[in-house]
């Protein structure tokens, strides 16, 4: 374990009990930092997570995001922050509950407690100024909260955060987060130099003094913790064998687009997708790329289609309400076979729904949202690493199959931060520059291979390739079709491409035994939590395995055969489903999770589902309960 440049003076150390702190040595530990919005808990958590990852811990960071820009101060729903789960091994999800919580006020803490975010014997570091606040109401709130919390087995340690900060700054509200970062650095023995770097990086757009002041506050927290706390936590580090990088899912999508050689991102802001464009906005021009913020989502899709048509595959990125608006254009791209990549970072729906919260409920809209038969490829990364690589794959498939490829991620992946092996970039991942060589005589704009439906597109600038694309039913020449055959044939050619693509796929692997009592099927961001739950269930002797789908359209091969080896199959989804036992709900009218529905139609297996729409990532613990309830013979 390393701590490069000691900031801790002898003196500070001396003030502590000579025995030194107790060291809690664990394979993993989960920290939550919660504050009012604007107090910077998120930045603190991000740096802590990043530095932990850089040091070689496994890590997973999840943002706790309030729904508003400026929720009221000291309010539960307004709590903003992070959960960072670190481990000796790679960490794949946010886990169940926090072992250590740092709270900037007791109301945020209480809210987390009520959401069962705290481990039963969690250690809590809470700002103590509210206990003695001038405002009677606030003191009363503090007392009430402490009474509730006092009944738990938490170890609560009041910390004079503001008081301490005031010793070096006169605006402690803005600096407290760095003080907390320092405390955490001491508790977890983080590399101080890495933290200093991270702070500098984070404030690179501000005056240098700002970074300096923040570093000072961080060091203050470090010293305070050293002087006052009686415990440290050690999560041993096993340096991963390969070089790693740490990104959140939206950064990974953005970098994936760069690695794929795309150079136009046409978008309209929408949470939680927008940060893809924020990040690209900063770096894309260095690659010759541009972010075009269009007047609306419809135009964004149109610009991406126009750009794709004119050369290289472009992409658009959005979330539910924006996806709804792109529906018509997605149909046009499908019909004209203009390659297009659509990234959909899912949030809670329907309608405006839960703008900042995770859900997986755009699945069927992605597959079936367009009027008419609009076959397209739909994929979903399960990890942040896959966010990166899947964009590269999506671009290639879109181009090769002249089709729309939708990549579905979600708010959990978008803001989650996780280290993963640094990609070895390959020039072949990139779209070739537009090839403007003349079109060979006789080649038609849709020179469909009659078996596969595949054809090579021409782009403007290619002599001899002049033709007019149209969303009307058309023949090989892109001429408007007037006979029944033309339409039948066009539909078949567009559909056939999916079949061809499907035949190139391998059956997905099963996590755990390839037969058993229950197979849990998931997709997207829930993979880590599902597999952790499966591990725990197997540890309890349950014959459970899981399977995670990455390609939803066309479905990966072999599912029916795999399913047949289990007594029961059920999906786990962050989606709504009716529950048996609820009033009026029967086996017949029950509305199932979207993936379950899809798998039933596809396999004719009686796929059940365990779904929740809490607006937060699923916890392994919850899934475990779900698994137990669904075990054949169980009560589901």
């Amino acid at each position: 374990m390393s701590s490069s440049s000691p900031v801790v003076t002898k003196k500070a150390r001396a003030s502590k009990d000579a025995a030194g702190p107790v060291v809690i040595r664990v394979p993993e530990h989960t920290v939550e930092i919660v504050s009012d919005s604007g107090e910077g808990a998120q930045k603190c958590g991000q740096i802590f997570g990043q530095v932990s990852a850089k040091m070689g811990n496994g890590a997973w960071t999840v943002e706790i995001i309030p729904a508003e820009i400026q929720p009221p101060a000291r309010s539960g729903p307004g709590a903003s922050g992070n959960r960072i789960r670190i481990g000796t091994q790679p960490v794949t999800n946010w886990g169940d509950a926090a072992n250590l919580v740092v709270a900037f006020n007791e109301q945020a803490l209480l809210a987390r407690h009520e959401l069962e975010a705290l481990h039963e014997d969690a250690i809590v570091l809470v700002e103590n100024r509210w206990a003695t606040h001038d405002d009677d109401d606030i003191r009363r709130e503090w007392t009430t909260a402490m009474e509730v919390l006092g009944k738990q087995d938490y170890r609560i340690i009041p910390v004079p955060m503001e008081e301490q900060c005031l010793t070096v700054t006169d605006n402690p509200r803005r600096g407290k987060n760095m003080f907390v970062l320092g405390m955490l650095a001491w508790i977890y023995d983080r590399d101080i130099e890495l933290i200093r770097d991270a702070i500098r990086q984070s404030f690179r757009k501000k005056a240098e003094a700002v970074a300096r002041a923040n570093i000072e506050l961080m060091e203050l927290g470090y010293r305070w913790a050293e002087a006052n706390l009686d415990f440290r936590v050690e999560v041993p580090i096993e340096k991963p064998p390969t070089p790693m990088i740490v990104l959140n899912g939206n950064q990974a999508l953005a970098m994936g687009a760069v690695a794929a050689g795309m150079d136009l991102c046409a978008m309209y802001p929408i949470t939680p997708a927008t940060s893809v464009s924020h990040y690209l906005g900063e770096i894309f021009e260095d690659f010759g790329g541009i972010v075009h913020q269009a007047e609306d989502e419809i135009a964004a899709a149109g610009v991406a289609i126009g750009a794709s048509y004119a050369g290289k595959v472009a992409f658009t990125v959005t979330s539910g309400p924006g996806l709804a608006l792109k529906t018509e254009f997605i149909g046009l791209a499908t019909m004209t076979e203009v390659p297009l990549v659509v990234l959909d970072v899912q949030r809670g729906g329907p309608s405006t729904g839960l703008p900042t919260k995770v859900e997986q409920s755009d699945l069927l809209a992605a597959l079936y949202g367009q009027p008419g038969d609009a076959p397209k490829v739909v994929m979903a990364p399960a990890t942040i690493e896959e966010c990166f690589h899947m964009v590269v794959t999506a671009r290639r498939i879109a181009e090769l199959f002249r089709c729309v490829v939708m990549v579905l991620t979600d708010a959990n992946l978008a803001t989650g931060v996780q280290p993963f092996p640094r990609p070895q970039l390959d020039p072949r991942w990139q779209a070739a520059p537009p090839d403007l060589r003349p079109v060979p005589e006789g080649v038609k704009p849709y020179d469909w291979d009659p078996a596969s439906g595949l054809s090579r597109r021409f782009i403007p600038g290619q002599p001899g390739g002049m033709h007019t694309l149209t969303g009307l039913s058309h023949d090989e020449y892109s001429h408007v079709g007037y006979s029944p055959d033309v339409h039948e044939r066009g539909c078949a050619m567009r559909s056939r491409k999916l079949a061809v693509f499907q035949t190139t796929l391998k059956p997905p692997g099963v996590y755990g035994d390839t037969k058993g009592d229950l197979l849990v099927v998931g997709w997207g961001s829930t993979k880590g939590a599902i597999e952790e739950a499966v591990d725990r269930a197997r540890a309890r002797g349950l014959r459970v395995s899981s399977l995670h789908l990455r390609i939803l359209s066309p479905l990966e091969p072999g599912l029916k055969e795999i399913f047949s080896r289990f007594r029961k199959v059920a999906t786990v989804e962050i989606n709504y489903s009716d529950r048996l036992g609820d009033p009026y709900i029967t086996r017949e009218n029950r509305r199932l999770g979207q993936l379950a529905w899809l798998l039933r139609a596809h396999t004719l297996v009686d796929v059940d589902c365990w779904t929740r729409v809490p607006g937060q990532p699923l916890r392994p613990k919850g899934i475990l309960e779900g698994i137990e309830s669904m075990m054949p013979g169980g009560h589901a």
């Binding site: 990043q50 850089k54 040091m55 070689g56 990086q201 070089p243 790693m244 990088i245 740490v246 970098m255 760069v258 690695a259 150079d263 136009l264 046409a266 260095d286 690659f287 010759g288 541009i290 075009h292 269009a294 007047e295 419809i298 135009a299 899709a301 149109g302 610009v303 289609i305 126009g306 750009a307 794709s308 048509y309 004119a310 050369g311 290289k312 472009a314 018509e328 046009l332 280290p419 640094r422 990609p423 970039l425 020039p427 520059p433 537009p434 403007l436 403007p460 600038g461 002599p463 001899g464 390739g465 002049m466 033709h467 007019t468 694309l469 149209t470 969303g471 009307l472 001429h479 408007v480």
Partner: protein, 317 residues
């Protein structure tokens, strides 16, 4: 419009080919006999030929409507898009490929009704392209519904007692948008003027909005009949910097000098009035063009990899 091809490794610029009107002709137009679209197509073909635009470097994007069949009737690259959305597609094309000559062809419903938001923003982006709005004051393709430019009182299938509202004036609306750079009006029954206007639009570097009054004998037969018969009902805006169609001088005696630089006057002249005004209402070559502001050098695959590896460093563990 820009014709440099710096950005792609192609070498058509110095080619020796030359094109005739026939080279630009596409499928046989299926517009009604007497439809003004025929004349507009002919004027466009003439422009292509005069400017010797390589067919493969010319792109016509359209929406949906009778008028939007335009690209099918040419042998250039074409994109017959969806209703109201020609401009975003055309913007995407030009952003990605400044070397191409881009034209957008729209109907009045296409542009001013369902496409209104894109229209306003395309004017503002001022991306270099020629936008032709073929304004027959009606929805043609869907068989006779009121459009925003239908004259008040003119009956249609959806407003059988006559259009309820005064028509939207597309010129005024365009002139109201910040960064507008070229706004003109012409009429299908004056081929020379149509040609001269779209030629000026083509020469203008920026978003050139041309409203073309277009006869639809099928549904708005009476709309321009009087003006067609009586040249005195037309007022030509003329200016050394304006549209030049000398052959029309004799027929159209109402001529009014208007300097296209004068925005206030352009707006004023665009207001409804007892005559039809044709010509350039406003032109400003100095307006910023979005595709120029956003222009990027193309990077090689290796440059990208190197730069991305640098970026990875920031996030390296």
């Amino acid at each position: 419009m820009e014709t440099s091809c710096s950005f792609l490794s192609c070498d058509h610029d110095d080619d020796e080919r030359s094109w005739t009107m026939e080279d630009y002709a596409g499928a046989i137009p299926r517009w009604c006999p007497g439809c003004g679209d025929h004349a507009i197509l002919a004027a466009v073909e003439r422009l292509l030929e005069t400017e010797q635009l390589p067919p493969e470097r010319t792109v016509f994007v359209s929406g949906i409507g009778c008028s939007s069949r335009f690209p099918h009737y040419l042998t250039t690259y074409g994109f017959h898009g969806i209703h109201g959305r020609a401009l975003p597609i055309a913007t995407g094309v030009k952003l990605r490929r400044p070397d191409l000559h881009v034209f957008a062809v729209m109907g009045d419903g296409d542009c001013c009704s369902i496409g209104a938001g894109h229209w306003i923003h395309a004017v503002r982006y001022n991306v270099d392209m020629v936008a032709l709005m073929l304004d027959n004051g009606i929805y043609g393709l869907t068989k006779n519904q009121t459009s925003p430019t239908t004259p008040q009182g003119h009956p249609s299938n959806t407003q059988p007692k006559g259009s309820h509202l005064m028509p939207l004036n597309p010129l005024s609306a365009t002139l109201g948008v910040s960064n507008a750079s070229f706004v003109a009006q012409t009429a299908d029954w004056m081929p020379a003027h149509v040609y001269a206007t779209i030629a000026a639009a083509f020469r203008h570097r920026g978003f050139s909005f041309v409203r073309i009054l277009q006869r639809c004998p099928q549904y708005t037969d009476d709309l321009f009949q009087e003006a067609v018969r009586n040249p005195n009902l037309v007022e030509m805006l003329v200016h050394p910097d304006g549209v030049d169609a000398p052959e029309l001088e004799k027929i159209f005696k109402n001529r009014r000098v208007h300097d296209p630089k004068d925005l206030d006057m352009g707006r004023h002249l665009a207001e409804p009035f007892d005559r039809i005004r044709l010509g350039i209402f406003f032109r400003d070559e100095s307006r910023q063009r979005y595709e120029e502001l956003r222009h990027q050098r193309i990077h090689t695959a290796q440059e990208r990899i190197d730069r991305l590896n640098e970026e990875f460093e920031k996030y390296a563990v």
